[in-house]
Each structure stands twice: as C-alpha cells, then as structure tokens.
Symmetry: D2
Subunit: 339 residues, 4 copies
C-alpha cells in the first residue's frame, strides 16, 4: 500500500535513525540531564533567538495540551477553530488536563479571525464566564492552508492588546516555513506567537515534539507541568539526539520541501481530472478533494488515504518527506484511469 494517508505513516528519516544509533553509546544521566539534551536545546537558540525555553515531550497531543495548561488556570478559556486538532483530535485531553473550556470557532479552512473572537472579550471580568486567555491557531491548518504573516501578526497584536496569549500548533510548522520560504523565527516569534508546539514527528522523527516558550517568564514552572503531564522521558537523549539531527544541515527543511513539492506536483497533475474537485487551498503538503465514492473505494485498495468527510465524499491526500515522484505519478494515473 502506498501512503497518501498521513505524514504520520511515513516512518523515520535515515539520518534520524543514524542519530539514534550514535546516541546509543555509554551511559547518560536520565531525564534530560545529559549532553545530548544540552546540545539539542542549544540548537534552538540560533533558530529562535535567545531567551526561549525549550521542553521535549513525546507527542503533539501533549505539546498542545501542556503548552496551554502551562499558561492558564482552569477557569480560563481557549479559543480555537472548531476543526482544530486541539478540539477534535485529542479526545478531550486539553479540557481534562487544563480544566479549561475550549471556545470553538467555525472555520472552513481551519483559520480563525479577530472578529470571531471579539465578542468573548465582553465576558472578561465576569465571573460566570470562563475567562478567555489563549488563542490557539494551527499553522498550516489541519486543512493544509497557511495563515499569511500578516494574518498571524494581526491576531497576535489583537491578542496582546487584550492581555491574552497566542499559541501556535506547529505540528507541521516545517511545512509552513518551507512553503512560506522563511525561517522558523520569522513565522512564529517575530509575529508575536507566545508559545509554539514545535512538531517534528510528522516530518521524519520517530517520536518527540518540543514546546517552545518565547518568553522565559511565561511558564517558568513548566518542568513540573511536563512531569505531572506524564511527558518526561527517562532516556531523554533519544529525543534530544533526534532533534539535534533534525536541526542540523537543514534536514527539517529538506524533508518539508520534499513533502510540499510532492503535493504541489500532485496538485498540478490532478487539475485536469474533471470529476475531482479540490476543496481547499493547497498551501503545504495536503490536498482535500471530492470525487465519486466508487472511485474512492477503488483507489483505497491500492493507496492509503482517509475519507475525510463521508457526507460529501471528501478525501484527504497527504505527502511526506519520503513520498516519491513515482508514487505521485502512479497515484495520478490510477485516478485518471478510474474516473
């Protein structure tokens, strides 16, 4: 089966595996007090600037949930797109662990705007309401669509004017950076993001994500949040070594570019198939499209991909760092001949 299902299905990049092997020598103090972790965290400084705090956790559920828990009290609310991973795909981990309310905003493409948030500001100081404290956005969104830098900055300015925080779910932040042709800092910290879930697993790691605070005072006690959140790895060097490799020689960028390129190629090919209709902007490494149900079922015999919305026969096709041109061509051919 050829994978167009998810970058989660794609395995580990060889250089990451190599880094794991190289880390497997000698003893290393557990729980992060080791040289691999020190080195990996240092790698974040030239990328995001000084005065940041970086914490490794196991997965994206935790990166999002703990980032938000670290900067809220349980009577706070977090506004996010109804379609956000935070709301739809964590089985309620954010509510359970933070105790907060999620305010879910309707969105077609996963993006949210100021005018959707404004009315919740009336409730500030009114003790009957969960107090809005965090706006969480996903870049690129769960529909593969990018916020422009202007859009993020507008949100950030609004957020800070109202003494809120801006969280960015960057599960695929590398794909965003690659697509925007900018570095990480320019599309996050420089725009006013306060805390970033820095994803890497979907872009070639075996496990591990990072929570990055762009202000060390934002959550100085996060090490306890992580530990109580069951996310402190004992053999930490094996997360750290992966991040070290990931941030070396632009591996992250090469992987993300590859994934994006393959989606762009695929998109350009399928344009001529009239029975197929692309339903979202194609900005990063995902395509959403509708096509006849029969064809979907037939394609799924050979290719892995998700039926996203069964009510409208919408599918999601996703590429990753190890998708090949041949796979794209083959998939295109099969669609072409199926319709």
């Amino acid at each position: 089966m050829i994978n167009f299902a998810s970058d989660n299905c794609s395995g580990v990049h060889p250089q990451i595996l190599e880094a794991l092997e190289e880390a497997n020598h000698n003893a290393a103090i557990a729980y992060g007090d080791d040289i691999y972790t020190e080195k990996a965290i240092k790698k974040f400084k030239p990328i995001f600037g000084d005065n940041i705090e970086v914490y490794f956790v196991y997965n994206g559920t935790a990166a999002n949930t703990l980032a938000i828990s670290g900067i809220t009290n349980s009577y706070h609310a977090i506004a996010c797109a109804e379609t956000s991973h935070l709301n739809e795909d964590e089985c309620g981990a954010p509510e359970k662990f933070s105790g907060c309310k999620l305010i879910t905003l309707p969105s077609k493409d996963g993006k949210i705007t100021i005018d959707q948030i404004e009315k919740y500001l009336f409730d500030l100081d009114f003790e009957h309401r969960s107090q809005l404290k965090v706006i969480s956005i996903t870049q690129p969104t769960e529909f593969g669509v990018l916020y422009s830098n202007e859009e993020v900055k507008t949100l950030a300015d609004f957020v800070h004017k109202n003494k809120l925080y801006l969280h960015m779910d960057g599960a695929r932040i590398a794909n965003a950076a690659a697509a925007l042709q900018q570095d990480f800092k320019s599309i996050t910290r420089d725009l006013g993001v306060d805390v970033l879930s820095f994803g890497a697993t979907k872009n070639g790691l075996m496990f591990g994500e990072a929570v990055v605070f762009f202000n060390p005072n934002l959550c100085p006690h996060f090490k306890y949040v992580r530990k109580q959140g069951m996310q402190l790895h004992s053999k930490m060097r094996y997360i750290s070594a992966q991040f070290d490799a990931y941030l070396t020689n632009d591996l992250w960028l090469k992987n993300a570019q590859k994934a994006n390129d393959m989606t762009r190629l695929f998109h350009s090919k399928i344009k001529d198939i009239s029975q197929l209709s692309v339903t979202q902007k194609v900005d990063a490494n995902a395509i959403f499209a509708t096509l006849p149900k029969k064809i979907i079922e037939k394609l799924q015999e050979e290719f892995l991909f998700y039926l996203w919305n069964p009510l409208m026969d919408e599918v999601r096709w996703m590429t990753s760092f190890n998708t090949t041109k041949e796979e794209v061509s083959l998939f295109y051919e099969r669609i072409k001949t199926s319709v």
Copy 2:
C-alpha cells in the same frame, strides 16, 4: 563515567535498535492499526494467557497513572507504599489525572502488608472518605526487594475478598521474574494481579511500556483513557517493534539476568568492606548501602550513582543489562582502596 546510577541511564539494547531499523520500511497506518502492533500484542498471549488487553504507552509514569485511572472513579483511593514510585516520583500525576487520593503506607523496604490496609476498609460506604479501590505494589520494590509469591497472593486474595483491585508496578518486572526464576504469568496473573504496568524501558528499550489488564472487562474503554492521557503514539510501530524484539528469544530474560547477576557479583564482593553497610535485602539489580560521606563524594567523581538519603549517607547502586564484570570489579576496587 561508569554507570551505577540507574538502568535508565543504560542505553538501548542492540537488538532493540535493530528492530527499530527493521520496522523503518514502508508506510504503516498510524496510531496502532499496523502489523507491527498486531504482532507485538500477539506476543503477550503465550506469555500471559488469553483474555488480556495490552496497551502501549510512552513511559512508566503513564503506565501507572493510566492503569489506575482506568479502574477508578475520582472518589476512590489507592493504597501504596509511601516510598512507591507512584507516590514519590510522578510529581502528583496520579492525583492530577485520576483525581483519587493516595493512601501512603510507611515501609522500610517498599513492601506493604494486609494489616496496614485493613483499617481503611472501615471507611467503605462512608461518603466522607475516599473509597479504597486499588492496592498498588511494586515488584521488585523501589529498594530492590522482592515480594514472595505467597506475599503477593495473600495481598491479592485480601484485595479481591474486599472487592478491590490489585495493581502491580512492574517497572522492573523482568528483574523480578529473573530473580524468582519464574515466568511473567506465574508472578503476576496467577497470583491475582488485576492490572500490570509492564516495564521494559529500564531493561533495554528506547521508550515504551505496556499496561496489561488480565480481564478484558476491567477497563474496556482504556483506549480513550490512553488517548486523553496523551499517551497514544502516532508512529506506534516503533514501540511495537521494540516489544516484539524484547519478547523474542527471551531477550527480556537475558537482559534482566545480566543486570541481576552483576548486582549479585557486586554484592558478594563488597561484603568484606567493613565501612560499608548494605541497608536492604539484595534481591534484584539494586544495592542500597551506607558508607562515609567523603568516600561517596570521591567515588562520584568516577562513577555515576545517586546519594539516596543524604541524612544517613545512603547510596543506591544499580546495574543494568550492559553492566560488565570489569565495571563491577573496577568499582569494587575503587571502594576498597578508598575506605
């Protein structure tokens, strides 16, 4: 630095690394719906018998916390040794996630007994009290001491007579099995353990532990507990492949025997050092001992190990699957010449 600090500091066994590499081919459905996971879970059946449920999680904090959360309601209480990892080393994760009270029982060696629990049964049905529901024991204990099968069975019978559950924290269950020269089932399920935190990371894995329910009806909804608990790995195959290798050709047993043997060897050597006093029974892969503070500090320049109890100059020395005879001899020599 030579590691006598913890089996957590010991790295990954080569066969486990190999398994990770072998798993790194082709795509695999994420979140556990893959052939590696299917195969790994099947491996548990001949070991523990049928009618079990096996769930992989990232670490021991989660295995313990989620196992207990899965079989309790927040008004329940869990009785455990005051010195248990569950109580002392999880930064309150069990209370936070389960909402339960921990009833902490004093213990010198980490073991608890029926008579310590009995008085809490008076409170059953009295709504002012957290209702005792789970007894949690660690095998071997955090002090490297083993419960005998009779002791576990006595606890289990008592527990079931009173409609409670018995949880076993088996962070080092392989060391227990090796030391007792019995298989896993004989020292857990056969004695009446209801749910086991099946540790493996300390015995050679890179990451991953398993929660094993010995009755499928005990927590049929555990998949939600795990997901909401932030412990469902996306690229699950990389945990599964490790477990598969771990349970193949008795790798678990060889590793545990090696660790235990090195401790036994070390123990036999240090007996002749009069300034050193071993403070706990040496049943598995840990030695607790007191020795003069000056010597401790000198030894720590060359060897990694923890000052366990600074008030009484007590240290913990721990061996693991890759401790060598040479390291043991060298450490012994250094102690000998230091005193």
Copy 3:
C-alpha cells in the same frame, strides 16, 4: 428598585421561611441522616414515581455539573446549546469537574434539535474524539422558550437509540410545568429524561436544588460525587425542610403560575409599544426585547433588569413568584411614557 432582573433577586417565599423556622427545633443528625430529609425525599415519589434517586445540592451550577459528572467518564462529551447555562454561566465548572468536552450547538432560542447532534455520532468508537454521551437541554430555555413534549420525546428517543443519556436542566422546571399545565413527571420522566436538575431556588427557596435520577442504576455512587463535589450540606435539614414545604399544597405551582402570569400580563401590555420589539417567544417568565438604548438607561434608574445583548440593545425582563400586578403596571407605564 423594582425587580425585573431575575427570579434570583426575589427573596424567599414566606412559607419556605416558615418551614426553616419549624425545622429549627431539637438536634438532627448532620449530612442528611435526619427525618426532614427522609420526609422531603419521600415527597418526590408521588411526583416522579418510584425507582428514583434524589440528592440535594446547594445550587444549580452543582446540580448540572454533578449530574453530568455522575453519568460520564472524562473522555465523554456533552452536547448542549451554545447559549445554555451549562456552557455559558458556570465558569467552566462542567469541564473542570467532569473533565468532559462540551459540544456547543448554535441556537437562537436555546433549543437544540436532533439534526445538530447527528454528525457527532460518526465519532463514536473513534478514540481521537471525545465520545458523545449526554445531551443536555434546558426547559424552559435560558430565553424563556419551551420545548414541546413532542420535541423532548423526539430528542429522548434519539438519545436512547444511540445509547446516550438525556439531561434536563430544570432550573425553572416549575415554570415549564405551570406553562404547559402538566405535572412534573409528564414533562420529564415520561418523555425519557434520564436525569433532571430540579431547580427550586429561583422559585422561592433560599438555597438548594435537587438532582433526580429516574433510574437508580444510572449513578448508584452519586453520594460520593456530591461529597467530593463539595455539595453535601452538613445541616441538611434546612435544605430538606424547604423542599418539603415547596412540594406541599402545590406551593411550587402557585409560585410558578404567579411568575408566568405576571410575564403574560406584562407581555400583553407592552404589545402596543411600537418602539419595543419582543425577540423571543414568551412561554414562561421571561421577556426578551429590544428598545432604544436611551430608554433602557432611563428605565434602569428605577427598575432592576439586565441589558442582555449590548450589541443590539436587547434586554431581559423576568418576573417571579412575588412580582405584583402593580409593579407590572408601573413598569409598563414607565416604558410607555419613556418612548
């Protein structure tokens, strides 16, 4: 100031006060093991039928939050109107205490329908989603609008077909019964409601609400939920005695009828004021209306009432058991002469 703000502002009915005085003789065992509580709970049986469980709590926040906590696990979701008290007015108590996600459905009048819920059933069994378990409706809604019996039954049948539960927030259930000219059972249990927050404070009590389970197996452990939820009153007889009086000689009904009548009267009067526009159906004891901002401000100098929606100059006027015809007439006159 004359109260058209809320039935919460209306004080305690004299017969309730009298009952409190009468209960103030001799000693009574604390925490509900007293004759007042026994008697009060017995009073619920002829009203709702046998095989029910009744628990007194302090307030409506708790009745709703604990009712829902008692029948869910933290990975569940509760669907309710976005405008429901449960979602908007409890400062996140439901999320905090139950750990559940609220799925909030848009609604103009506070009512929700099957077709809004249906799409969440796709997610059942999919561990990434909070599992829908409870539908919560408010009768009458926060906008003073009633569900018809058919509407409730349709929801209940749908709910049970899908193995969910139906919770009814009956903060003003007496006003609903009075308006529908039916008894309590006919508009709750007979239609398929599983658990009811039986409000009484807004209808003349000093403090105290009841949680009524229509199936004793639904939450047999609720006494622990209540105690851990900080809602077990020590001097319980003083809640019980109020409920006893409330359910004697139809005090509840007389109070609710009075409140409803005054709203009906008020509504009939204001119809001729053209600058005023009633925005919701007037089914119980509340009127929502828009009128010029200047007039609102002038009226608020003499009358207590809330500016409900400042964006559209919408106010809420509410009557209660002790609103008088004279107050209604006076208010009407003032509006009339102000416009």
Copy 4:
C-alpha cells in the same frame, strides 16, 4: 435524643434566623452584588484588619478545598495532619479539585510540627516530586486540641522562610478564640496565617463559611475559583445576612463560649468516673474518651454521639452553642449510673 454528637447537629441560632427573616425584604441583586454582602464583608475589616479579601462559600469542604486550590498549582503538595478533615473527611475533594498531592503527617492530637515537614523541603526544585507549597493546620484540631500561639507562629515563620503558605482550617475557629481568650486576628493573621477557612456553620449558622485571605495579592482571581468550584450562591444575601448577625454584638463569641463552657463543665464532672478515660486534651468543645462498649451502646439509646474509634471503644462528645447545663448533668448522671 439529646445531642452530644456534633455542633453540626445543633440547629441555627435564633438571632441568625432573625437575620434571615430581616433580609427577606425587597429584591436584591444576585451573586453578591447586594447591600447585605457589602455590609457583611465590611464587618470583617475591624476584626481582621485592612487589606483582606473575604469570600463566602457554602460549606467547610469548599472553604478548605478552594482556599488551597486558589494558592496552588496542581503540581504542588499540601502537608497536613493525617487526621485532618482536609485529608479524611472530604472524600478527596482537595485532590480532585486542586490536583495536588496531600502529604499526610501522623498525629495523635491533630497537631503537626516543623520537624515533620522538614524532610519534604529536600524535594523542592526536583521535578519528580510534588512541590510542597502549603501547610494546613486545624485550630482547634479535629480532636479539640489547641495550638498555642507560639506553636502557630513557629510554623508560620518556618513556612514563610521556605516560601510556603500557611492555611488554617478554622471550622471551629470561634471556639479557639473563646478558649484562648483572644480575638480572631491575634490567633490567625498576627501569627502569620496566610489564608483562613473561617467557619461559622458549626457555631450557629444555617449554611455558609468564609475564605479570608490576609493578603489581597495572594489570590486576586479567587472569584473565578469560587464560581468554577460551584460555590457562588445566587441569593447571596442570605449567607451575608447571617455573617452580619454573627459578627454583631459578639454573637460568635457568646456561642463559642457557651459550647466551650458546657464541655468544660462536662469534663469536670466525668473526672470521677473511673471506667472512663479521657484520651485527648480538652481545650475547646470536644471530649474524646474510652469507656466500656456496653455502656457506649446503652448511652446511645438516649444520646446522640459518635463512636470515634471502634477498635478502642473511643467516643467523641461534643457540645454546641445550645447545649444546656441540664443536658450535661443528665448525660453525666446516665454515664455515672451506667458504669
């Protein structure tokens, strides 16, 4: 049945009832924005000094649980006596709501000391441990024993030196003040207590307790904690009016003195009964004593009181503001003639 069971069984003082009736005129804004509440809170200022924050809640479970939740994060720990109400009598509400760990210290009389706490300071900054943040003491203890001012001050100084907080459970703080012949401030704020659960229900109120912060910066967001904690009363004036009366003309003191006097009288009488052995110091309004089981059972036919410890035939006898000399004499006579 004559009540020696608990001050919770004693009903409401007539002046409190009167205050409730007086408050029952006109409308009053709900949720505390009323003149009764304003007045009641002002009454606390001359008693405790300026710069305090006072919040009314329903009961003692909530006063303790929310006070502690307001000044902790979930990774903190609270040290208290094993026998404290906080640990033993709240069905785990503190753990559930705060997420914190309780560190329970053995105690014969309910008092705790510095040396029991000291060892937990080693764990500060070590992320594997719940971080000790609050010491909670009960004055008088659950065994009716008083801390001396020196003892409280010693604890408070220690606590502040280590950047912790001191919480006092004052469920019967009036009995303490009366017994110590000092005002409230002298035995709380002046000694270094940071936050007080100011009990009143056991001393004559119908319902309602207060949480008093002696530093407004300690928990400026407590109004949200209270609301999310399901403890904001809608018809708040009825709690406020009680507190107003309670703090007027030393009603609190007269009530507490009466309760203490009756216990003192009772204690002086029973001294001559040799089969009876008083097991705790008698400092306030409770006596703990052992006597033959048969006699206990016989007495319970006529008098309400608790068998405290069935293992040693220990009972608790408690007096309250409305215990009479005649009741004390009668009880004494019955014991005398029973033995």
